[in-house]
Amino acid sequence: MESGLTVRKREDKSVMEKLRILSDAAKYDVSCSSSGVGRRGDGTGIGNTLAAGICHSFGADGRCISLLKILFTNECIYDCKYCINRKSNDVPRASFTPDEICELTIQFYRRNYIEGLFLSSGILHSPTYTMELIYEAVYKLRTFYRFQGYIHVKAIPGADPGLVERMGLLADRMSVNLELPTAEGLKQLAPNKHRKSILWPMRQIQQGITQSKNEIMVYKHAPSFVPAGQSTQMIVGATRESDYQIMMVAENLYQKFDLKRVYYSAFISVNEDKDLPALPEGPPLLREHRLYQADWLLRFYGFEAKELLSEKKPNFNVLLDPKADWALGHLEQFPVEINKADYRSILRVPGIGVKSAQRIVRARRNGNLGFDDLKKIGVALKRALYFITCNGKMMYPTKLEENYIARNLIDGKEKLPFDRDGMTYRQLSLFDDVRAAGWKQMNA
């Protein structure tokens, strides 16, 4: 009787209400990228994808809106303590029908609002049952509506592996959320989820991708399995892991599971629970920012996690970005001569990114580069000048000394949310060098 009643209630909701509830419930998922696969339309349906991905809008929080990010349903049998949709919360519940999802996706897509669909879900009845619902919606979208745009689906841990495999042939990207960096954390906050059951579909997807790549090499038209790769996400700041532990986990995921992306999500306190930290200063956004910076260093700059952090120094410097922090600890490797050094050493200079480094290597074939040329190329000389020479000369006479450079690198303009990290504004006194004091504090 009672279940009949809830079903009727659910049907009463308009698409607008459902969209409001189910996008609101999905917003804590970070992944939004539509990149990783370039596919032209075949002229018989709607949609294509661009390898670089396309953002279609930016919300009030500055995050990109690329995919229609929704849950299939926010009803859930699990009770994860950090999650807004947990069983014990009293929030309005709703579910889409596969047709509603298809219609929304197509109508948004043809108006160029979105790049595709991101479909996740709370667990309704069982993981396999939920996965089947998602599969039905995506199958309809791909076949009946002939949608060839981007689709990102969550693989639900514990669902039937056969279903995951069929799903992978329809989706461009799949992801399984690691949720918390360590097994202990998971046990503490997500009692229904287990590390093993999360890693298992991740491994399955990885093997599927490798196998499909091999098949495509032989048979050009073999169906491709999750062509845009898989990603995952970790919550940062809900449990006590150090940055070092998080980076080691991320590095392992990249190396052993061939992940395309690891996302870090600053913990946002949506539930009050004795096991969750109280965060009166708001989510740890600066920490999340440093983790992303380090993540880039791992993926594009040839760094290893253990170069950046160690057991002894388990957390990132709040005041300096990880690359500058690393460079200050390795001054013996600097200055680097721009006109002679190899690409890898140039890439390690603070203020020089991948694009600038590539342009430098290319441009110096046509003659020596000076500081003016570097500026044109796009090097942030303000940071780089302490670490480079052009034709044997530094830009200004500077000391290669850790404290001196650190004082100059700490940038007043980089808007660090100081108040959010417990450092509040204080009265200045005549003999205080605030920047230097902050730096010493970090080193102590």
């Binding site: 043809r110 108006r111 290319r362 808007k415």
Partner: protein
């Protein structure tokens, strides 16, 4: 020493013809300059010549650039010439001259320490970035007749760079993209090739009536746009960095629902 100024039409054809004519002069390239459109301040002791766009000369210059400097340079040059800046003609002309003095001509666009090559690089980057912004932020509205209609107002002439993307993406749709600043329409009929139409006043003044579905889905998207943002992370500065204000006047989620809708 006489200085020559070749006044070219503001188009790819115009400037390529200018480059062709400059080479015909057989004098030092330092004495020849290309300017686009009407010159505002005429110089003393300089000769001004007007170039009439010529199809054969254009094709010949395009072919030479592709053959000598490769496709990368050609695309950069095309993008640079779509720019709205006045010095684009001179930059492209002197870049070509620079290219012929290089040992490895295919590396022309890598020679960023040359000021002209760098200028072309800059202009091309600006056009490419703006074209990408339009691929991201362009919004179609469904007219009562079912045609999708979008308006843009770019600083560079990006229309021809973005239409192929949408033609590939929406092959079965009838859609129109209108560049207000230059008064050009790009028209894509369902399952056919797209083409450009220059606007006329009559067509521009017609009021556009949108479909009922348009009202419904624009409201749904505005709702989605607002709920998907996380309150605790609000950052309007970042939003403005990523999505410059000048694009917002054309975007559904930043507009109040005005305009008329059919029944």
């Amino acid at each position: 020493m006489e200085e020559y100024y070749l006044v070219c039409e503001d188009s790819l054809e115009g400037i390529f013809t200018g480059i062709y004519d400059a080479y015909l002069k057989k004098i030092s390239h330092g004495q020849i300059h290309i300017c686009v459109g009407e010159e505002e301040n005429y110089r003393l002791f300089a000769v001004y010549e007007t170039c009439v766009p010529d199809e054969k000369k254009t094709a010949s210059v395009a072919k030479t650039i592709i053959r000598e400097f490769g496709m990368e340079t050609y695309l950069s040059v095309c993008r640079a010439l779509a720019s709205g800046e006045a010095d684009k003609g001179e930059a492209v002309y002197k870049t070509v001259v620079t290219g012929f003095s290089m040992k490895n001509k295919k590396e022309l666009m890598g020679n960023l320490s040359n000021p002209f090559v760098h200028r072309v690089f800059e202009l091309a980057r600006f056009t490419a970035n703006e074209a990408h912004y339009h691929v991201e932020f362009l919004r179609f509205k469904e007219l009562e007749s079912g045609i999708l209609y979008a308006e843009i107002g770019p600083k560079n002439n990006v229309l021809t760079f973005i239409v192929p993307h949408f033609a590939d993406r929406l092959p079965l749709e009838n859609f129109v993209i209108y560049d207000e600043k230059r008064d050009i329409y790009a028209v894509h009929p369902s399952k056919m090739d797209w083409y450009l139409v220059v606007g006329d006043e009559k067509r521009n003044q017609q009021e556009r009536i949108f479909s009922q579905g348009e009202k419904k889905y624009s409201e749904l998207f505005s709702c989605f746009f607002h709920t998907i943002a996380i309150k605790e992370r609000a950052s309007y500065g970042r939003q403005r960095n990523m999505l410059p204000l000048r694009y917002r006047q054309y975007m559904t989620e930043f507009q109040e629902n005005k305009g008329s809708y059919g029944s």
